[in-house]
């Protein structure tokens, strides 16, 4: 028999809390992302990694050392790294003769690979090349996807999903209107994916809604699509499952009228008026004669029932 799986029992209260936080939650926080490089990485790749890391920053982890991982041949070390760093998303940069300036966007489900797409960097202009005012850390960006190609292939569909997953940060209830200051645009054109990042400038327009002007802040990257590994439909469905607790259940028989008053409809059984208890008074009390009459009536009804039963028996 093989070695039994060890049961981790926390020894301290803090350790217990950590272990609990690592268990699956109903409402998940922002997905963290791991940035790392492979055996070799070109200057371009390294800069792309650091730029995207800057955009994703509070929910990101960057590894500085090189990693001997060939991600499409063996995903296991990547999964282990993601588990160790608690990052369901990853960006892996590498550079070799066959695939120069290579980055792989991917994500995990339960720390096993869900999907990943390999992109080649064609042209790149970094943060530093745009001498504009930058945005503040951790702002929720507006994501703009343009071009009809996004819906054309499965790869691009998944890439879109990965980009949204990566940049949307987390669900928020409220957003400060003046705080919308970052827009990232993804354009799919001629088989390429063009990433642009802008600062949003709110100008006067003469009405409540402001006029928008954009100021490019970088990075500016043109990607080509290379290899990809997409999930099976089943796995994707399982990953997209919504917890029961979050599903809305419709409450029946409750309505709100025009004035905002809540109305509820209640069902009650049929009322038996014969047995209704009215006011108790001496005058309404049954006399002995009445009681006797009731008795005979009852007996008669029972007799007639009996008679019917006998009839039925005879018929049989």
């Amino acid at each position: 028999m093989s070695v039994i799986q060890r049961v981790v029992k926390p020894t301290t209260r803090k350790g217990k809390k950590v272990l609990l936080s690592r268990e699956p939650q109903v409402i998940e926080g922002p997905k963290r992302m791991l940035f790392l490089q492979g055996r070799r990485a070109s200057e371009k790749v390294r800069k792309v990694l650091s730029d995207l890391y800057d955009i994703k920053k509070p929910d990101a982890r960057k590894l500085s050392k090189k990693n001997d991982i060939t991600i499409f041949e063996n995903i296991v070390p990547m999964e282990q790294l993601c588990r160790k760093n608690e990052t369901p998303l990853f960006l892996f940069g590498s550079h070799n003769k066959k695939r120069p300036d290579n980055v792989v966007f991917g994500r995990m489900f339960d720390y096993s690979l869900l999907d990943m797409i390999e992109l080649g960097i064609e042209t790149y202009n970094g943060f530093n090349e745009f001498s504009n005012r930058k945005i503040s850390l951790g702002t929720k960006p507006c994501l703009i996807f343009s071009g009809p190609e996004w819906e054309s292939s499965e790869e691009l569909k998944h890439l879109k999903s990965i980009f949204i997953d990566m940049f949307h940060r987390e669900h928020v209830e409220n957003v400060r209107l003046q705080g919308l200051e970052h827009a990232i645009s993804f354009t799919a054109a001629n088989g390429k994916v063009l990433l642009r990042s802008y600062k949003i400038l709110l100008k006067k327009s003469g009405c409540r809604t402001p006029r928008i002007e954009l100021d490019e802040i970088g990075p500016r990257i043109d990607f080509t699509i290379r290899r990809s590994k997409l999930p099976s439909e089943d796995l994707m469905k399982q990953a997209c499952r919504k917890p029961k607790e979050l599903k809305k259940t419709v409450k029946k028989n409750i309505s709100v009228d025009g004035l905002g008053t809540k109305h509820g409809r209640i069902h009650i059984g049929k009322q038996n008026i014969d047995k209704l208890q009215t006011r108790k008074m001496k005058g309404l009390k049954k006399t002995t004669e009445e009681r006797a009459l009731d008795k005979t009536r009852k007996r008669k009804s029972m007799d007639s029932e009996d008679h019917e039963i006998r009839k039925k028996i005879k018929a049989n």
Binding site: P141, C142, C207, L214
Partner: protein
């Protein structure tokens, strides 16, 4: 332009003459500003919950090829403008002197990082308690001790000390060995209980994770079940050099089940060796098939007889009914003419006609 004008005229309608003057100024000013409306062929898809906007319109390849970056910037500007227009239309609130828009729930479905949490499986005790409706009683953490005149905790810090102070002397039971250390006995029992609890905890974990746990040997007889003890006896008996062949057995003694793997040869149920050749295997299989196919159904004589009698009795009234019109004499004579000559006894025949008596329901 259109949007803003509509807004202004609405306001003008609401406001009185005084405001109208100011608005006129506003209209004049508006000429200076650029428009906030954008014309698009296809409507864009918005997901305001995740500040997402998807533009499925065809790209202008001419402009794209001429100056890519300029074109993309303009395109994105238009799309951001449309998104911002939508966001600004959302209901707003003031939180800490800041205007915030209330975002709807995101519609774009993203995969989760980890699977949906499953409800924690019940332990064996919890299952039993649920079945029996046993509810947990709340015990207070501190209880007053009359002997020590002190509040002592139910568990944890200072509990052990309190117990030590409380029971510094133990009376030796009447039939106990006077040389036996009662304190040691007590600590032994305690460690045993703790070990048992740990074992149960691990067993619960193993059950939930569906892991097969290797046999642990036999527990202390005070705490193990009858089944465990039976297994222990069987194992012990088979642990001789001759794998228990010459061990006697008690009357009505049964062998423990499910331990054949660790007591090979001890069990009376023997495993057969695999067939040597294919011919032998074939012969064995054919034999098995023959055995199944040649099985004769068991005959329950009593039941069969009863059935036969019942059928006859049912048939009788039908025959009597159908034979009535032929009763003129030509009809065939019944086979049991000899029995008909006998004088019938009471209470043996089939009742004729309607069933009398009350029908019971």
């Amino acid at each position: 332009m259109g949007c803003s004008k509509v807004r202004l005229t609405k306001r003008a309608r609401l406001a009185m003459d005084l405001v109208a003057e100011i608005l006129e100024n506003g209209l004049q000013e508006q000429g200076k500003f650029k428009t906030i409306t954008v014309e698009k062929h296809l409507e864009l898809d918005y997901d305001l919950g995740s500040l997402l906007c998807v533009d499925n319109n065809e790209l202008d390849s001419g402009l794209f090829n001429k100056n890519k970056d300029e074109y993309l910037r303009n395109l994105t500007r238009d799309n951001v403008q449309l998104l911002i227009n939508q966001i600004w239309d959302l209901p707003t609130e003031k939180v800490d002197e800041v205007i915030v828009a209330k975002l709807p729930r995101p519609a774009y479905v993203l995969p989760r990082a980890k699977h949906v949490p499953k409800p924690k499986p019940l332990t064996k005790w919890q299952e039993y308690a649920k079945l029996k409706g046993i509810q947990k009683k709340k015990k207070s953490k501190l209880s007053w001790d009359e002997q020590l005149k002190k509040w002592i905790p139910l568990y944890g810090y200072k509990r052990a000390e309190a117990l030590r102070n409380k029971e510094w002397l133990i009376e030796v039971p009447q039939n106990a060995n006077p040389m036996e250390d009662q304190f040691a006995k007590r600590t032994d029992a305690k460690t045993e209980r703790v070990a048992k609890n740990e074992l149960q905890r691990l067993r619960n974990i193993a059950k939930t994770k569906n892991i097969k746990v290797p046999r642990m040997g036999v527990l202390n007889p005070d705490v193990s079940t009858a089944k465990d003890l039976q297994a222990a006896v069987t194992i012990a008996k088979s642990s001789t050099a001759s794998i228990g062949k010459f061990q006697g057995s008690l009357p009505k003694e049964k062998e423990a089940r499910g331990i054949a793997t660790i007591t090979p040869g001890a069990s009376s149920r023997k495993r057969k060796a695999a067939p040597v050749s294919s011919e032998v295997e074939k012969a064995e299989n054919l034999q098995a098939i023959d055995f199944v196919l040649n099985k004769k159904p068991k005959i329950d004589v009593e039941r069969a007889v009863n059935k036969q009698i019942n059928q006859q009795q049912l048939r009788k009234p039908e025959e009597s009914m159908s034979s009535k019109p032929k009763a003129g004499g030509k009809g065939k004579k019944k086979g049991n003419s000899s029995s008909s000559s006998k004088k019938p006894k009471s209470g043996k025949g089939q009742r004729k006609g309607k069933n009398s008596g009350r029908k019971r329901r």
